[in-house]
């Protein structure tokens, strides 16, 4: 009867298209909003993921990576003294002001990395050499900085500009994940960053550390916290701490959650109503099938097959449209858009629920249907 079920589904073109449109829209909305949400969460952790260090040592009361609470300069050596530390280096991070040649100002995220090891440097170098940061007054900038600070014609290797009235020269162009605040990244050495930035009592933003072989990052983070009283987190722990803070304090989670819920409800409403209408309009035919000898279980399987078939097609179309949106609108990192497999699995489960619940309404009707209905003229 699978064949009969599918012909009933595809034969009623208007209802099939309405069902498909509802489920496609629902899938697209959930995937699109979910991907933008996760893109934002990825951006929020970029301050951590761009640095690529196993363990972050912070002020004990820190909430998230952009909330910088400077440490005493001695923290680096204190961390180095903890058993199990292979290396520990300082990191400066702060928002500063860059002055362009045309006199305009632009805010930048200045990152000062250890000059001897260059730990904390970005993963990908597009142009130039990151080692050239050791030369006087040099910086490395990311692609966003190229755009924001004048475009590729004016901002290239060798270009000079001012950061807090200090003249710096571009020695490398790097690729970095955008930040939640959307400031361009400018990298330099830790010592030069201290020289460029205004004088304050403490400037050490973080200490980056790595465990010796045989000690896990989690274990090292625990030891550093116990020995020093400082906050210490693995890269993953710090990332989640940041995400949790954002969800708790910005309302982003509620906003996106509401839209995703809306997608679910709209999908549910359209699919449920259309399926129910489909069942009601075919009630006599279903009654005839029951009279002829189709069991309720067989009719239920037919309804489920119809529901899951249109659900699967809607799922594919919805994901396709959302991906197309991501490829066009969010190209080049203009919009945060990260489509992950857990999201697609989650949407698949949500759609499965929509289809199951919609079918359940119809199946309930069919289960109660007296086949005697067919004998009424």
């Amino acid at each position: 009867m699978n064949f009969v079920a599918l012909k009933m589904l595809f034969g009623d073109r208007a209802k099939y298209l309405m069902l498909l449109a509802g489920l496609t829209f629902s899938t697209m909305l959930i995937v699109q909003q979910g991907s933008i949400f996760w893109g934002l969460m990825t951006w929020s952790q970029s301050g951590i993921t761009n640095i690529n260090a196993p363990v972050w040592v912070t002020d004990p009361n820190i909430n998230q990576v952009e909330e910088i609470k400077p440490l005493a300069d001695t923290a680096v050596n204190v961390v180095r003294s903890v058993p199990g530390v292979e290396w520990a280096v300082p990191l400066y991070k702060g928002v500063q002001r860059a002055r362009l040649r045309d006199g305009n100002y632009e805010q930048i995220a200045l990152v000062g990395i250890d000059s001897s090891t260059l730990i904390g440097r970005p993963h990908t170098i597009i142009e130039g050499r990151i080692e050239d940061l050791r030369a006087p007054d040099t910086v490395a900038i990311d692609q966003l900085a190229v755009q924001r600070l004048g475009g590729p014609d004016r901002m290239h290797l060798g270009t000079t500009f001012e950061v807090n009235d200090h003249l710096v020269k571009v020695a490398a162009i790097v690729q970095a994940q955008k930040s939640f605040q959307n400031f361009p990244f400018v990298y330099t050495t830790y010592e030069r960053a201290l020289g460029i930035t205004p004088q304050v009592r403490r400037k050490l933003s973080y200490v980056l550390a790595s465990p010796v072989e045989g000690v896990s990052p989690e274990e090292l983070a625990r030891r550093i916290h116990e020995h020093t009283g400082l906050g210490a987190f693995t890269e993953e722990q710090f990332g989640w701490k940041t995400v949790q803070w954002i969800l708790k304090n910005t309302g982003i989670g509620v906003n996106f959650g509401t839209t995703v819920l809306l997608g679910f409800v709209v999908g549910m409403a359209i699919a449920g109503q259309t399926f129910y209408l489909f069942t009601i309009e075919n009630l006599r035919q279903f009654g005839a099938l029951k009279a002829i000898g189709a069991s309720t279980g067989m009719l239920a399987r037919m309804i489920l097959l119809q529901s899951f078939t249109v659900g699967l097609i809607g799922y594919g179309l919805g994901i396709g449209l959302a991906t197309l949106f991501g490829l066009t609108t969010a190209r080049g990192g203009r919009l945060p858009f990260v489509e992950t497999w857990p999201l697609l699995v989650g949407v698949g489960v949500a759609l499965l629920m929509i289809c199951s619940l919609s079918s359940a309404i119809s199946i309930r009707k069919l289960a109660k249907l007296e086949p005697a209905v067919v004998f009424r003229g």
Partner: protein, 245 residues
């Protein structure tokens, strides 16, 4: 045969349907309406029986009880030797699937299936492979003069053609008992006659029987017996072309 519709003597050994003291009411308490008030009826194999009577006399209800679609309140209904009321719901469904054929006044064809697919539905339900089911349905439709309309959808068929598809659907699984509810009600006289002739041809088969509920007195001549129901009871009976007794 006696006046309650029972078969007697040698006839009794061939019965396909035997109903005794069947009662059925609808509603509860003060609104309870008795529709069948102790019906006795036998239908022999090879017999075409017309069940006639005014609206509300209980014809369709009796047909539904015989089919196991409605549960009787009291009495005993045996179809092909099975006590219908003693079967479980799923056993009744399987019994209908394997032994009964139905023709409805409104045809109840699936509008998105072609004529041949509609006719093959009982075989699909039985799990017969699609190709074989369609071949068998096609054969039956061809014998009914529908060879040119096999791929037509029901909305494109005339009333007579739709009813022929419905008959093919009822016959394709070779049921032993065919139950028809007003099969000519929506048809013109000539088409109705042709349809009933075809149904009666089926009923003449020695292992089968046909029960036709109808108001259409023009087709009585085709039946072996005409059982007249009134007020929930079997009343007059006419054997062949004779008078009601």
């Amino acid at each position: 045969m006696n006046q309650t519709g029972e078969l007697s003597g040698q006839e009794r050994s061939h019965w396909l349907v035997r109903a005794r003291g069947v009662t059925k009411s609808f509603g509860e308490g003060d609104t309870k309406i008795p529709v069948l008030k102790g019906v006795d009826l036998d239908v022999a194999s090879g017999e075409v029986l017309f069940l006639v009577g005014p609206s509300g006399s209980g014809k369709t209800t009796l047909l539904s009880v015989i089919a196991g679609i409605l549960e009787s309140d009291d009495g005993d209904v045996r179809v092909l030797g099975e006590s219908i009321q003693e079967l479980s719901a799923s056993a009744k469904t399987n019994f209908r699937r394997d032994h009964l054929g139905f023709i409805f006044q409104q045809y109840n064809l699936l509008p998105t299936l072609t004529a041949v697919e509609n006719a093959a539905v009982p075989l699909f339900i039985q799990g017969v492979p699609k190709v074989e089911a369609k071949a068998r349905a096609e054969d039956i439709l061809k014998t009914m003069g529908m060879g040119e309309r096999l791929m037509a959808l029901p909305p494109k068929l005339s009333g007579g053609e739709q009813q022929r598809v419905a008959i093919a659907r009822a016959l394709v699984a070779e049921p032993q008992l065919l139950l028809c509810d007003e099969p000519t009600a929506s048809l013109d006289g000539e088409t109705g006659h042709r349809i009933v002739e075809q149904l009666c041809g089926v009923g003449k088969h020695p292992d089968r029987a046909v029960i036709i509920v109808t108001h259409d007195s023009r087709i009585f001549e085709f039946g072996d017996r005409v059982v007249h129901m009134e007020d929930g009871r079997v009343g007059q009976i006419r054997q062949g072309q004779g008078d009601f007794i």
